[in-house]
């Protein structure tokens, strides 16, 4: 048995030396540190990687121009695997070892709740590019986001379907995750408040690829249209499989549709889909420039969350140029941002840290989204924004 104890002892020694090493290396000279948390591995790694690349692009561009007042910005990317446990470890590391000034992320709602509480308690400004749950910004005044809360998106969707498209009886197929369920609940509340009826609701589990059972049930339910507020890849599956079971009704969707990947995966099945997503950005030159830079750097096109992450990072950089690396100063700086011109358009934050934005409506024709208009909901009525 002695040899076994030796092995154990060696492990303990390795562990101890490693943590001494860690203690030694934790002090670094750079003052401007931006952290990022998102799923870099695991089932949903794609969303995290797309966002992290946007953050990296923003930091690299700023550094190429001399960083912040001559000092280079350091970016530290941490993997959450899309799970709270790893997310907590990531924020722990960013906060205590790296002593970051501000955080972009987390990408997913669940992790954002856990990490947000922590950021609030320690006074680290946090800006999520994609956590859409309406309660995220209720955590506190250090929590911001550059994505619209699903409350607003669902509300605009519900009103638009009822008032403009004239649907009275629709179906819904959503994945049981925080993002899709939030959108579904928002849309349903608004649609039914208008007087419509969501008569057939089908769900699927995260990771499902086969939706034929649900689509067959929706086909039998005879609804006017079907709302599919899901992630890009799942929507591609649903559109294709709907055609396979002979389901032939209009499909309505959400900002997951703004990822150009959808046209690659679902091709002509996307034609005729109407979706609600952040307002028109295609026209602006800065957006085109961003997409070109991003594609040149990473070989893939950014989705809307990555675009949001790019803006979030640039907002931090702009604020840090003015106020330095102090966390509280950055928080106050971000809160007082006014009419920031980002690649997603004009960015303003509401009192609670939410993005003030309108929702754009798009219709897909020939695998290209056609912009219809921007909308918001005011006093229970859909208002078109000119």
């Amino acid at each position: 048995m002695r040899s076994l104890k030796k092995v154990a002892l060696v492990f303990a020694l390795v562990a101890m030396s490693a943590c001494l090493f860690a203690g030694g290396s934790s002090e670094s000279s750079t003052a401007y540190k931006i952290g990022f948390i998102g799923p870099m591995t695991g089932d949903n790694a794609n969303y995290g990687i797309l966002c992290s690349q946007a953050v990296k692009l923003a930091v690299d561009q700023a550094n190429a121009k001399g960083g912040i007042n001559g000092t280079q910005i350091e970016l530290i990317i941490e993997d959450s695997e899309g799970n709270q446990e790893k997310g907590m470890a990531a924020i722990e590391k960013l906060s205590s070892t790296d002593k970051i000034s501000c955080l972009v992320g987390p990408v997913f709602t669940g992790v954002s709740f856990a990490v947000g509480e922590r950021c609030q308690a320690e006074g680290i400004p946090m800006m999520s590019p994609s956590a859409t749950h309406k309660d995220i910004t209720a955590i506190g005044d250090y929590v911001f986001r550059t994505v619209v809360s699903d409350g607003l998106q669902g509300e605009v969707a519900g009103h638009y379907f009822y008032e403009v498209l004239g649907y009275r009886n629709i179906g819904c197929l959503y994945i049981k995750n925080d993002y899709s369920q939030g959108l579904y609940e928002g849309m349903k509340a608004a649609f039914e408040a208008c007087g419509g009826k969501v008569s057939a609701v089908e769900t699927a589990q995260l990771g499902d690829k086969d939706f034929k059972t649900q689509l067959t049930k929706l086909k039998a339910a005879n609804v006017e249209a079907i709302y599919i507020p899901n992630y890009t890849v799942e929507m591609a599956q649903q559109l294709e499989q709907a055609a396979q079971v002979g389901l032939n009704v209009p499909f309505l969707s959400c900002d997951g549709f703004s990822n150009p990947e959808i046209y690659d995966l679902a091709g002509d099945y996307t034609n005729g889909v109407i979706y609600i997503a952040p307002t028109q950005v295609e026209e602006s030159d800065s957006y085109k420039q961003f997409v070109a830079d991003y594609t040149a750097a990473f070989g893939v096109a950014p989705d809307s969350f990555a675009t949001n992450a790019f803006d979030a990072t640039n907002i931090y950089i702009k604020v840090m140029k003015e106020v330095g690396s102090d966390r509280t100063a950055i928080r106050n700086g971000v809160a007082s941002i006014k009419d920031y011109q980002g690649v997603t358009g004009t960015v303003n934050f509401a009192e609670n840290g939410d993005l003030i934005a309108y929702q754009g409506v798009y219709r897909v024709e020939n695998q290209t989204p056609i912009y219809i208009g921007a909308y918001t909901v005011d006093g229970g009525k859909l208002v078109e924004v000119k």
Partner: protein, 306 residues
Amino acid sequence: MSSVAVFFQHLTNGLTLGGIYALIALGYTMVYGILKFINFAHGDILMVGAYMGMFAFDFLRGDAPLGAWTFISFLLAMIFSAVFCAVLGMFIEKVAYKPLRRAARLAPLLSAIGVSFILSNGAAWMWGTQSRKLNYPFDNSPITILGISITPHQILVLIVSFAMMVALTLFVGKSRMGKAMRATSLDQDTAQLMGINVNVVISLTFAIGSALAAVGGMLIALDYKCYPTLGTMTGLKAFVAAVVGGIGNISGAMLGGILLGLVETFGVAVLGIPQGYKDTIAFVILIIILLLKPEGILGKVEKEKV
């Protein structure tokens, strides 16, 4: 849609979903039957096979429109992918499992989990995490018969999995190599004494299992697309199917796969249970089947010796 048509549409969906599970379950059960070892990395080899097939197919097909050549190049890509995965499977066996052949039963399982991590994350690293489309080599528009839609792909999946089952049964049951495999499965030491080269037999088992995974992977990727975790969840379900059918039994894997597909579909569609609980229903039914028949539906009852 009449309710009869709806019923048959569900039946079609369930059968073809089951076909997909069966396709993977066959490879699982084949390796298990010979080595009594859960190859946790089987699903990941399947994923590698799908990617390899996609690359080869895109390369061979070029810009050619749908036609005979696309189908031929798909078959060629499938052969390439099967060979690649066979070699990969043999390599993995040599490096990660062979040294553990005589170790405690759980050691190779852990090693397999390690291999699974390496493969799926290696794929994510090399090929990116976004889903990539493997184009259909034929026109996949659904055929409608009496109001029931079925696609050529669904039919193909069922045919291929059935053909695989028959071929495997014949190979293991009738051929000389199959006999050697069964002998190895019964008792490795005795098989060796009888002049069977156990190392070759085991290598070949892995080669065949991995080649099957590659073929299955490509067929599944046609519908599910290529992405690094393609094999994980589907592989897990397929493994469940293999066990329910009686692990180690080739026809059992097919039966288990089809049954799982039907249970998943009808549990939600017909029993009227809230659809979120699809997996719950599937697993409850599977547990009940296992309780009624603890060795799987077609599994052999192993007599316990005292």
